[in-house]
Structures are given as C-alpha cells and as structure tokens.
C-alpha cells in the first residue's frame, strides 16, 4: 500500500498494518515516546495498538519533546 509518512510518499509491502507495527517499521523503538497524527487527527497513545493504517493514509509522527534542568540527586 502507499502511504505518506512525514510528508514522504512511501510504499509498504503489506495491505494493512497497525500504527505500532508501522512505527516499528520506521525504527521507532519506543512508541510511547512519539505522537502520531493520522489523516490530520492526533491519535491517543492507547489507540496505537488497535488503529490500522490503510492505503492512501497520511501519517505523521514525531517524538515527545521535553526536559529540564533537573539532575537526579
């Protein structure tokens, strides 16, 4: 199927897969640390496992960004 992933046309050699499977394929080791937008809608993280990506879908993902000037004591 053909997807647009982070703005790039991408062909995936399977008819469908879940968001978690897609993230693994995109070398994302920790799906809990990314936000995913599917066809313009932000997905809740607990929906990653059960949401299926289909042909012509547009998927955006980016990493959670945070930090702070705190050192472990």
């Amino acid at each position: 199927m053909n997807l647009k992933i982070n703005g790039t046309d991408t062909t995936i050699d399977t008819p469908s897969l879940t968001v978690v499977e897609l993230l693994k394929q995109q070398n994302v080791d920790m799906p809990d640390m990314v936000s995913v937008q599917l066809n313009g809608e932000i997905l809740e993280r607990d929906a990653f496992e059960n949401t299926t990506v289909k042909d012509s879908d547009e998927v955006e993902f980016l990493y959670f960004m945070g930090g702070g000037a705190i050192d472990a004591g």
Binding site: E60, L62, M65, G66, G67, G68, A69
Partner: protein, 131 residues
C-alpha cells in the same frame, strides 16, 4: 555540527529572558545543518526547571517547516539558572536520536548542542555561530 546565525541566537536569548524564570523552548529549522528559521514554542509546563512541547503545536511547526522547504534540525530550550549542559532530566527525556538538543543558559550566556543516542550516550555537537 550545527550552524546558527547570530541573529537567531540573539532571538533565543531574548525569548529565554522574556520567559524567565520559566524555561523557554522551540524548534530550529534549516537545510544542510544550517539553521534558517526559529519556531518559538509554548512550554506547556510553564516551569523554571522543566519544559514540554505541545504535540499539536509540534505537528503544526513540522508542517510549516516542510512547506518552507526546511527540516527540523534541533529543539532548543533554556536553562534559566544552570549551565548549558544536558541535565539528567534532559537525557532521560531525549528520545529522538536524530535531532540536536540545543540549550541556552541564562546563567553564563552559553549555547551548546548535543545529540543523545538510543543508549542515552550524549555527544556534544559543535555550534558554529555566524553573522
């Protein structure tokens, strides 16, 4: 290496001062390792020792940068009272091995860049500031 126009460094410093005592944050976009544009972001934590970007704002900036022909090269934040170095919390929450984490310190005015690998090893990235 990341190349930063001095004007953008000055803008980061100004934003950091404006938002102090809280941490300020944002994205830097550009091409071929040279920053062309700064996207200031909301620190949803509004905290002097922590920052978090809002995913909705992140996606919006990602698309704006892409439409401008730019790539997100770095995410920056300020340390209001500590040096420009990766704190334990910065390292713990650095999940993207492909971005540069830039820190601007209001303590000493320093600006430093770092990458963090999947195994959490930190490497300082040279920051070249040009006029």
């Amino acid at each position: 290496m990341i190349r930063l126009p001095k004007a953008i460094v000055d803008e980061i410093a100004a934003q950091a001062n404006e938002e102090a005592p809280n941490e300020a944050c944002g994205y830097l976009a550009g091409t071929d390792g040279t920053v062309r544009k700064r996207y200031p972001m909301t620190n949803v934590d509004a905290s002097p020792d922590h920052f978090t970007l809002h995913p909705k704002e992140q996606f919006a900036v990602l698309k704006q940068a892409r439409e401008a022909g730019l790539t997100l090269l770095a995410v920056y934040h300020s340390h209001p009272e500590t040096p420009a170095r990766m704190s334990d919390e910065d390292i713990r929450l650095a999940n993207d091995p492909n971005t540069i984490y830039l820190i601007h310190s209001l303590l000493d005015g320093g600006t430093k860049g770092f990458t963090v690998d999947r195994d959490k090893s930190v490497t300082e990235v040279p920051v070249e500031i040009f006029e």
